[in-house]
C-alpha cells in the first residue's frame, strides 16, 4: 500500500485520513508561527504542563533559575523558597504566606479544592513549642511516624536539633495563632512527618497539598520549590549507586532490599517508592522493604488519605521538596507513590492505576482467594472469617427457617450470612441491608447465571434448614461444592470483599499476594522503560506483512473455535492477536498480561530444559512405550511433554474487573509465547489442541524463525530515515521483511553513520496510531544508548504526553520544547501522535520537517510495523 501516485509530492502526514486538514503544509506553517510552544530556554525546571495556547510560558522567566541555596543548615531551611508556578490556567497561585488556608479551611469543608500547608512556619526548629489545645490526638497520630521524622534528622548535615522539639512539630505557636482544629494539626503533623522522612536530603521547605474539590483541578495551584541546581531528572548520583538495579540491562524481576524498612537510610533514599495499603492502613505491598515492618509508615499514609476524605475531599498529591507523593484511592485499596524522579503527578497516577490493575489481576483470584484464605474450603468458615459472624449464623440457622418466597430467601440468606453481625443495631442497619439485598439479588440475576444461581442458592437454603446443627452447615457447603458450581456463591463473596475490608479492618491481604512480588516489581520497572505504560497502546514486532498474516489467520481459526483471545507475543511485542467476535482487548490489559507472563518464571519452566533434553527425551520415550497406534498426535504429545504448559486464572481488569478468564500459556521458543484466553475452566485440552495446531502452522510457515530474525534486526532505526520521502524509490522498510538484500546494505550504511543519530539531529521517535491503539518506537540511537539516558528520555516523553493530554486545557496540536538534554517535538492529529527527540541544538524548522518525513516513513511501512486489519480493537 502507500504507493499512490501522489506520494511523491504529498508531504502530508495526514494523507491517510480524509478528515484531516487537507493541506499539511499550511498546517505546519500555522503551527510554526502561532501554535508551537517554544520554550527555548534551557531549564531544568519542568515546564508546567498544558498551558493555554498562545499565552504559554509567559511567566516562565520569573520562575526560571531560582536562587538555589546549597545545603543549608537546618534553621535556615525554614525560609521557604517557594516559587510561583503557573498553574493550569496560567494564573499564578497564592503565595506561600497564604498557608493559613489550612486553618481557615475548617475540618470538613474544602473551598476550591486547594489546601496549602505551609510548613516553614511549623518547621521552625527553634520555635518554642506550645502545647496544642488537645495534645492527645496529635500524639496519637504522630506515634507511628515520629520515628521517621526523628531519624531523618540524623541524616541532615546540620542536625543540632533536639529531637524532642520535633516529636510534635505541629504544636508550634502556629496552632494558637491560626486557631486550627485538632484535626488540622494532626494533618499537618502527618504531612510534616511524611515529607520530612522523604526530604531528608535537601530539607523540606515548602509543602503543598492539592485537593480535588468541587471546582476541579483548574483552580488548583502549586507552590513548588526547586532544591537542587542539577536537578535534571536524575537524582543525586550517590543514590544511583544504591538505587534500583533497574538500570542494568540484566534486570531480574523480584523484590529488592527486603531487609529495609522506613528506618533504613537506604530505604529513604530510594527514588521511587510504591505502596499499596488497605483503607485501614495495613500494608499490602511495598516496592522496597518488608511490608510488615512498614506498618507504621502505612498508617501515616492512611491517616493522610482518610483525613482528607473526612473533609469529603480527596488528596491527589503532595509535593514536598523534590518529592512528589501521589495518592490513588480505589475502594478499600489505597495506592501511593513517593517519587523524586520529577515525573508529573499525572504520570505517576497513571502508574498507580496500572499497579492497581495488576493487583486486580492477581487478587481477582482473590475472590476465591478470600474464600480460601483461612477457611480452607468451607464456605461458611469463610463467611465466618469474613464477618466474624459464625456464632450468630449457627444460632440463626438453628432457629430460623427461610421463607418459601424467593425474595425472602434472598433476604434470609443475606441477613444470615453477610448481615449477621449487625444484630445489635438492627434499625440502623436495616436500610443498609435492604440496599445490599437489592444489589445482591440484582447481581445474582444479572451477573450470575440468573435462574440457575438463585436455584442453587435455594437448594442450599433447603439443605441448611433441614439440618439444624453445624452438621447442616457442612452439608450446606457440601451441597454447594458438589453441585459443582461455586460460582454463584463466589459472586456473593466477591461482592463483599469490599465489605470484608469494611467489617474487618484488620484484614491482611499480604498472604494473598504470595509470590507476586516479581510481577509487581517488573511492572514498576517497566514504568521506566516501556512506553506502553503511558501511551496506553501496544507495539508490534516488525514483521513482513505475509508473515504476520499467516500467524493471524491460524489464530483466527482458533478464535472461531471458542477461544476468547489468541495472542502470540514475543517479549513485550505483539506478533499477532485475534479476539473472538466482539471481544476487545484493552492495551493496558495486554501490558498487564504480558507483564504477568514474562515476570512469572514458571511459565518458562519447560523451555529451559527443552533443548538440552531433546535427545534424551526421545530415547526415553522410545524405551518407554511402543504405542504405535497413536501416530502423529502422540508424537506431538511427546514434543509437548518437553515444555510445560500452564493453565491459570487471570483477570483482565479492563475487560472485566469482576471476572476472571483462564489463560493457557505456552512458550514456543525462548522469547515467543502463545496465550489463549477462555472463559471456560475446563477448556484446557481444547486449548492444548489449539496450541498444537497453531504451533504446527507457525513452524511450517516459518513464522517463528522470522520472529527470531526480527528480534535480531530490531525495528526502525532513525539512521535509516529516508532522506527525502518524495522520490518513489524510497519504498518501504529497507530492513524489514522480504527485502533482505536492501537490509544488508542499509545495515552497513547505518553502522558507518553510527554515533550521530538520524538526520537533523533526530535521536528517537515514537509514533502512536490512535485508531490502531498501537505505537512504534524507533530503536535507540547512539546518543541515547545507556539505559539511564533512555529512562530519562521516556520520562521526558511522559511529561510531554501528560502536557499534551491535560484535560484542563484545550487539546494541543504541537509542542516544541527544548532543554539541555533534548529538543522534543510532539505533534498530535486525529490519527496519530508523534513524539520525537532531537539533539538539543537541533534546528526547529528542520526538526519539524524531519517529523513530517518520519510520519511519511512510518506510513510507508505501516503494514510491517503495525497489526492491521481485523484488529480486535476496531470492534
Amino acid at each position: 500500500m502507500e504507493s499512490d501516485s501522489n506520494s511523491s509530492i504529498d508531504l502530508n502526514p495526514d494523507s491517510l485520513n480524509t478528515n484531516s486538514p487537507p493541506d499539511n503544509f499550511k498546517f505546519w506553517s500555522l503551527n510554526e508561527s502561532n501554535n508551537v510552544k517554544d520554550s527555548e530556554h534551557v531549564s531544568n525546571h519542568e515546564v508546567s504542563a498544558g498551558l493555554a495556547n498562545g499565552s504559554l510560558y509567559d511567566n516562565l522567566d520569573q520562575i526560571e533559575e531560582p536562587q538555589i541555596e546549597k545545603p543549608v543548615p537546618c534553621d535556615s531551611m525554614i525560609v521557604a523558597e517557594a516559587f510561583e508556578v503557573v498553574d493550569e490556567v496560567g494564573k499564578s497561585c497564592s503565595s506561600p504566606s497564604s498557608a493559613g488556608y489550612v486553618g481557615e479551611r475548617g475540618s470538613s469543608e474544602v473551598v476550591n479544592g486547594s489546601l496549602y500547608t505551609n510548613l516553614d512556619q511549623i518547621e521552625e526548629p527553634q520555635t518554642e513549642l506550645s502545647v496544642p489545645s488537645d495534645p492527645i490526638p496529635v500524639a496519637e497520630a504522630f506515634d507511628g511516624v515520629s520515628e521517621v521524622g526523628q531519624s531523618s534528622f540524623v541524616q541532615r548535615e546540620n542536625s543540632e536539633l533536639e529531637f524532642d522539639a520535633h516529636s510534635s512539630p505541629s504544636s508550634s505557636g502556629y496552632v494558637g495563632e491560626r486557631g486550627v482544629g485538632v484535626a488540622s494539626i494532626r494533618m499537618r503533623s502527618l504531612l510534616y512527618a511524611l515529607a520530612f522522612s522523604f526530604s531528608c536530603r535537601n530539607g523540606l521547605k515548602v509543602l503543598c497539598l492539592i485537593g480535588e474539590g468541587s471546582c476541579g483541578p483548574s483552580s488548583t495551584s502549586e507552590i513548588e520549590e526547586v532544591v537542587d541546581s542539577d536537578a535534571d531528572g536524575d537524582v543525586i548520583p550517590q543514590e544511583n549507586t544504591i538505587n534500583d538495579f533497574s538500570d542494568s540491562a540484566s534486570w531480574v524481576p523480584g523484590k529488592r532490599h527486603i531487609d529495609e524498612d522506613d528506618a533504613s537510610i537506604s530505604w529513604r533514599k530510594r527514588k521511587k517508592h510504591f505502596f499499596v495499603l488497605s483503607h485501614s492502613g495495613k500494608p499490602i505491598y511495598s516496592r522496597y522493604g518488608d511490608e510488615h515492618k512498614l506498618a507504621g509508615f502505612s498508617a501515616t499514609l492512611q491517616a493522610i488519605i482518610s483525613f482528607v476524605e473526612n473533609g469529603e475531599d480527596r488528596v491527589k498529591f503532595v509535593r514536598a521538596g523534590k518529592h512528589l507523593v501521589v495518592f490513588l484511592v480505589k475502594g478499600p485499596i489505597y495506592l501511593v507513590c513517593i517519587s523524586c524522579t520529577e515525573e508529573s503527578h499525572e504520570a505517576l497516577t497513571g502508574q498507580l492505576e496500572l499497579l492497581y490493575g495488576q493487583l486486580m489481576s492477581a487478587l481477582v483470584q482473590g475472590g476465591e482467594d478470600l474464600y480460601e484464605e483461612k477457611a480452607y474450603g468451607d464456605i461458611l468458615e469463610f463467611l465466618d472469617y469474613l464477618f466474624s459472624s459464625i456464632p450468630v449464623l449457627i444460632e440463626r440457622l438453628g432457629r430460623t427457617r427461610p421463607d418459601p418466597n424467593r425474595e425472602d430467601r434472598m433476604t434470609w440468606i443475606y441477613n444470615n450470612t453477610l448481615g449477621s453481625n449487625v444484630d445489635k443495631d438492627k434499625e440502623k442497619v436495616g436500610k443498609m441491608l435492604d440496599d445490599e439485598k437489592r444489589e445482591l439479588s440484582q447481581g445474582l440475576k444479572t451477573e450470575c447465571s440468573g435462574e440457575a444461581g438463585i436455584n442453587s442458592l435455594e437448594k442450599e437454603i433447603k439443605y441448611t434448614s433441614a439440618d439444624e446443627s453445624s452438621d447442616g452447615l457442612n452439608s450446606l457447603s457440601h451441597v454447594l461444592d458438589s453441585s459443582g458450581d461455586v460460582n454463584e456463591m463466589l459472586l456473593i463473596l466477591t461482592k463483599s470483599v469490599n465489605r470484608c475490608f469494611e467489617k474487618n479492618p484488620k484484614f491482611d491481604m499480604t498472604p494473598l499476594l504470595g509470590g507476586t512480588d516479581a510481577v509487581f516489581s517488573s511492572l514498576i520497572h517497566s514504568f521506566s522503560w516501556n512506553p506502553s505504560t503511558f501511551l496506553h497502546a501496544y507495539t508490534c514486532l516488525p514483521l513482513a506483512y505475509p508473515t504476520r498474516q499467516a500467524a493471524g489467520s491460524i489464530l483466527q481459526d482458533v478464535a472461531d473455535s471458542g477461544v476468547l483471545f489468541a495472542i502470540l507475543m514475543c517479549k513485550h511485542k505483539v506478533v499477532s492477536l485475534v479476539g473472538a467476535q466482539k471481544a476487545s482487548l484493552h492495551p493496558d490489559d495486554m501490558l498487564l498480561l504480558a507483564n504477568f507472563v514474562l515476570s512469572s518464571e514458571s511459565f518458562r519452566q519447560g523451555e529451559i530444559w527443552f533443548k538440552e533434553e531433546e535427545e534424551e527425551e526421545k530415547e526415553e520415550a522410545k524405551g518407554g512405550g511402543d504405542d504405535d497406534n497413536d501416530d502423529k498426535v502422540e508424537e506431538e504429545n511427546l514434543r509437548v511433554s518437553k515444555t510445560s504448559e500452564s493453565f491459570s486464572p487471570i483477570c483482565l481488569p479492563r475487560y472485566n474487573p469482576m471476572a476472571f478468564l483462564y489463560a493457557y500459556v505456552h512458550y514456543l521458543d525462548v522469547d515467543t509465547y502463545l496465550m489463549l484466553l477462555t472463559t471456560s475452566s475446563d477448556a484446557f485440552y481444547h486449548l492444548k489442541d489449539c496450541r498444537i495446531r497453531i504451533e504446527m502452522v507457525l513452524l511450517k510457515s516459518n513464522v517463528l524463525s522470522e520472529v527470531q530474525r526480527s528480534i535480531l534486526e530490531g525495528g526502525l532505526h532513525v539512521e535509516d530515515l529516508p532522506i527525502d520521502p518524495s522520490p518513489r524509490t524510497v519504498s518501504l522498510s529497507p530492513h524489514l521483511g522480504q527485502e533482505k538484500i536492501t537490509t544488508e546494505s542499509s545495515e552497513r550504511t547505518r553502522e558507518s553513520s553510527f554515533g550521530i543519530g538520524g538526520p537533523a539531529g533526530l535521536w528517537h521517535f515514537i509514533y502512536r496510531s490512535i485508531n490502531l491503539d498501537q505505537y512504534v518506537a524507533s530503536e535507540f540511537s547512539s546518543p541515547i544508548n545507556s539505559s539511564n539516558q533512555q529512562k530519562r528520555l521516556y520520562r521526558a516523553y511522559q511529561k510531554l504526553y501528560a502536557s499534551m493530554h491535560d484535560k484542563g486545557t484545550a487539546p494541543h496540536k504541537t509542542q516544541f520544547r527544548r532543554d539541555e538534554n533534548y529538543a522534543l517535538l510532539c505533534w498530535i492529529t486525529q490519527d496519530f501522535e508523534l513524539y520525537a527527540a532531537f539533539d538539543p541544538l537541533a534546528d526547529k524548522a528542520l526538526a519539524i520537517k524531519t517529523c513530517n518525513r518520519v510520519c511519511q516513513w512510518v506510513r510507508d511501512v505501516e503494514n510491517e510495523i503495525f497489526l492491521l486489519g481485523s484488529s480486535p480493537f476496531s470492534w
Binding site: 480505589k330 481477582v364 483470584q365 482473590g366 475472590g367 476465591e368 482467594d369 474464600y371 480460601e372 484464605e373 480452607y376 474450603g377 450470575c448 440457575a452 459443582g484 458450581d485 461455586v486 460460582n487 463466589l490 466477591t494 470483599v497 469490599n498 475490608f501 498472604p511 494473598l512 499476594l513 504470595g514 516479581a518 504477568f596 512469572s600 518464571e601 514458571s602 511459565f603 519452566q605 519447560g606 529451559i608 530444559w609 527425551e617 518407554g624 504405542d627 511433554s641 510445560s644 504448559e645 500452564s646 493453565f647 491459570s648 472485566n656 474487573p657 469482576m658 471476572a659 476472571f660 478468564l661 489463560a663 472463559t679 471456560s680 475452566s681 475446563d682 484446557f684 485440552y685 492444548k688
Partner: protein, 201 residues
C-alpha cells in the same frame, strides 16, 4: 475488589475439572493413561519433584508456579505395561487454593507433598488429604510425600508421624528428595503399581 469466577459461559462454568475422556484411567489395561495432581503448600517442592521426574533435572532457584502447569511422562513397568502420567503441578499459593478442584477433579492419583522441615506444610498436607477425601474421585490413589529428605538435620516432621497419618488414611507414604533424586522414580513407580487395572467405571 476481587471477582467472581467466570463469565457468561454457563454451560461450561462448572468446575467439572480438566479431564480427557479417559481421565480417571484408561481403557487399554496395557497402556494406562492417568491424571495425576500434585497438591501441597507453596515451596515444598512440587515443581521440583515433577521436573526431576519428567526431565531428570533439579533447579535450585525457586520459581513460583502460576495456576498450574501441565506435564506428562510415560514409564514402563516390569509387567510390560506402560503408564502415561498427565501431571498437573498446581500452585501452592493460597491464592490458587480455591481453584484446586479444577485440577484434582477426575484425577486418578493425588500426590500430597509436604516439606519435612516444615510442620506447617505437613498441616497443610493434612488439609489437602481431607479435602481430597471429601471431594476427590472415589477411587483416587493418594500418596503422601515428604520432600526435601536431604535436609535431615533440619527435619521437623518425623517419619513416624507421617507414616502413621498415611496409614490411618490409607495412603501410600514415601520421603523423597528432588535435589538428590532420591526416591523420585520410586514414588511414581509405586503409584503406577497401585493403580486399579480395570477401568474405573
Amino acid at each position: 475488589m476481587g471477582c467472581s469466577a467466570s463469565l457468561p459461559d454457563k454451560s461450561s462454568g462448572k468446575l467439572s475439572g480438566l479431564n480427557t475422556e479417559s481421565g480417571g484411567g484408561a481403557t487399554d489395561p496395557k497402556n494406562l493413561k492417568v491424571k495425576l495432581v500434585l497438591l501441597g503448600d507453596s515451596g515444598v517442592g512440587k515443581s521440583c519433584i515433577v521436573l526431576r521426574f519428567v526431565r531428570g533435572q533439579f533447579d535450585p532457584t525457586s520459581k513460583v508456579t502460576v495456576g498450574a502447569s501441565f506435564l506428562s511422562q510415560t514409564i514402563a513397568l516390569q509387567d510390560s505395561t506402560t503408564v502415561k502420567f498427565e501431571i498437573w503441578d498446581t500452585a501452592g499459593q493460597e491464592r490458587y487454593a480455591a481453584l484446586a478442584p479444577l485440577y484434582y477433579r477426575g484425577a486418578a492419583v493425588a500426590v500430597v507433598v509436604y516439606d519435612i522441615t516444615s510442620p506447617e506444610s505437613f498441616n497443610k498436607a493434612q488439609y489437602w488429604v481431607k479435602e481430597l477425601q471429601k471431594h476427590g474421585s472415589p477411587n483416587i490413589v493418594l500418596a503422601l510425600v515428604g520432600n526435601k529428605a536431604d535436609l535431615q538435620e533440619n527435619r521437623e516432621v518425623s517419619i513416624e508421624d507421617a507414616k502413621g497419618y498415611a496409614e490411618k488414611n490409607g495412603m501410600f507414604f514415601i520421603e523423597t528428595s528432588a535435589k538428590t533424586a532420591d526416591n523420585i522414580n520410586q514414588l511414581f513407580e509405586e503409584i503406577a503399581k497401585r493403580l486399579p487395572r480395570t477401568p474405573t467405571s
